[in-house]
Amino acid sequence: MNVLVIAEHDNKALKPATLNVITAASRFSGNIDILIAGGNCQDVAKEASTIKGINDVICMSDAALEAQLAEPLAEAVIQIQGDKNYNVILAPASTFGKNLLPRISALLDVQQISDVIEIISPSSFKRPVYGGQAIATFESNDEFKVMTVRATAFDKASTEGGQATIEEISFNSPKNFGTAFVGLEVAKTERPELTGAEKVVSGGRALGSKENFKMIEELADKLGAAIGASRAAVDAGYVPNDYQVGQTGKVVAPELYIAIGISGAIQHLAGMKDSKTIVAINKDEEAPIFKIADYGLVGDLFEILPELTKKL
């Protein structure tokens, strides 16, 4: 059994979710190769070579892959698949993997399995459906398996102890795909990255303004936590889009998740209900968030939040 993990990276460093995918890949008990495709991404290949459990690092560095657009990247993977014939191809179920993998599946004529949370056998898998309201088990009868993996469902592979060889392969598809990268607007933050954070403090519509949302930031900084938000808070412009937790935002599973002024809609719960300890602060004692919270505090967040931040 040969397994390929498509690494997510920014041409400088690996994104941590890649390590969770490697653990998922190890469930197939085969040789695991990892693909680093990008532009001037040799440092990432070096970083990947020490990850425990990796056989080969395949490094494909080409100007056409620098922006990691789905069209050329998919061609790159198809090229490699033509040489190596992997039985399984995996990537994280992040916006990177979600954008890329279905393209690869279609080109290989495989029905992808999205957002896998458990690998029961090399051909049977569990995944959440209906916004996490149900867990479905599927058996794939495709010759190859192509899947995105939910990072929070698997531990991280160790970044030490591996001694993989780095194989450089050149990209031989200089086609023009009709897509050009214009720019990336990154919301800079010193805080931990939301999806991998141990603690997350999230705010909802009840915060009422961008100004008030600073109270969430103060609490988060006291705890060393990342900041999340409900869709309503993002839609209202209190925080940027990449803070959204939920069915259609990010999935998090920190040790501690504090939901403040968030009602607990199904779509929000889908992104956080696997957190270890959940705290809810809401003035409505009937709010659905309390049903899943380990500790609920009923009251006005504008009184509770300052007190909590002060007493920490």
């Binding site: 393209r103 992808q112 599927f138 058996e139 050009a180 990336l184 889009n241 501690l256």
Partner: protein
């Protein structure tokens, strides 16, 4: 410019689903069904492009049961010009029609209709796959721009802002292209009563999925559908001090 908008009929997003007792699927009798929310956004965007003089015709397509006509009528009431129902008796949520089959069927329709752009939802809220748009674009060999929060059409190209994990990415794609919608692209309108009446007279073409040359045996066999693990929540603390005490000494997370 002609725009094609594929849409799906799903359990309404407000419904708390029930799992069948034999774990064979999700209860769909007597459940409110609606247009998938992301597809509503796709229709709205197409209609706005038409209102802005950028698009001339909007075609909505769905694959599903006879009843799925209702969502095509809703789409036409919002402003789509005509509808295509590709009928099938196979299930469309889990263990039946799969994204790859849908992409293949859409490809065949598109080769016939020759739209300049496909705008569709990034995911359906039943099986949450988030695959069909990307697959379609790969099969057509067209550019893709997924998870769009802004679309501008200019000179045969689309400038698309995408919601990605790191922030906002902007791409320029040559048309024809496939664009998938994210939540913040727009706020869909409600169809007015006169428009609902008018939509009843708009053309609706009926095709059979079995007439397309596509293998309809699922690649993913549905084995079971279960409840997710239940959380034992529900403890209410009376004040901040008690909360801090619990977090320190019971949960040991701070």
């Amino acid at each position: 410019m002609k725009i094609l908008v594929p849409v799906k009929r799903v359990v309404d997003y407000n419904v708390k689903i029930r799992i069948k007792s034999d774990q064979s699927g999700v209860e769909d009798s007597n459940v409110k069904m609606s247009l998938n929310p992301f597809d509503e956004i796709a229709i709205e965007e197409a209609v706005r492009l038409k209102e802005a003089g950028k698009a001339s015709e909007i075609i909505v397509v769905t694959i599903g049961p006879e009843k799925a006509q209702d969502i095509l009528r809703t789409a036409m009431a919002m402003g789509a010009d005509r509808g295509v129902l590709v009928s099938t008796d196979l299930k469309i949520d889990l263990g039946g029609i799969e994204p790859l089959m849908v992409a293949k069927c859409l490809k065949a329709l598109i080769e016939n209709e020759k739209p300049d752009m496909v705008i569709m939802g990034k995911q359906a809220i039943d099986d949450d796959s988030n695959q069909t748009g990307q697959m379609l674009s790969a099969l057509l060999g067209w550019p893709q721009a997924t998870f769009a929060s802004n679309i501008e059409i200019d000179n045969g190209q689309a400038n698309v802002t995408r919601e990605v994990d790191g922030g906002l990415e902007t791409l320029k794609v040559a048309l024809p292209a496939v664009v998938t919608t994210d939540l913040r692209l727009n706020e869909p309108r409600y169809a007015s009563l006169p428009n609902i009446m008018k939509a009843k007279k708009k053309p609706l073409d009926n095709k059979q999925l079995s007439d397309f040359n596509i293998k309809l045996t699922p690649r993913l066999k549905l084995v079971s559908v279960e409840e997710p693990p239940k959380r034992e929540g529900g403890e209410i603390v009376s004040n901040v001090d008690e909360l801090l005490d619990k977090l320190k000494n019971e949960a040991k997370v701070i």
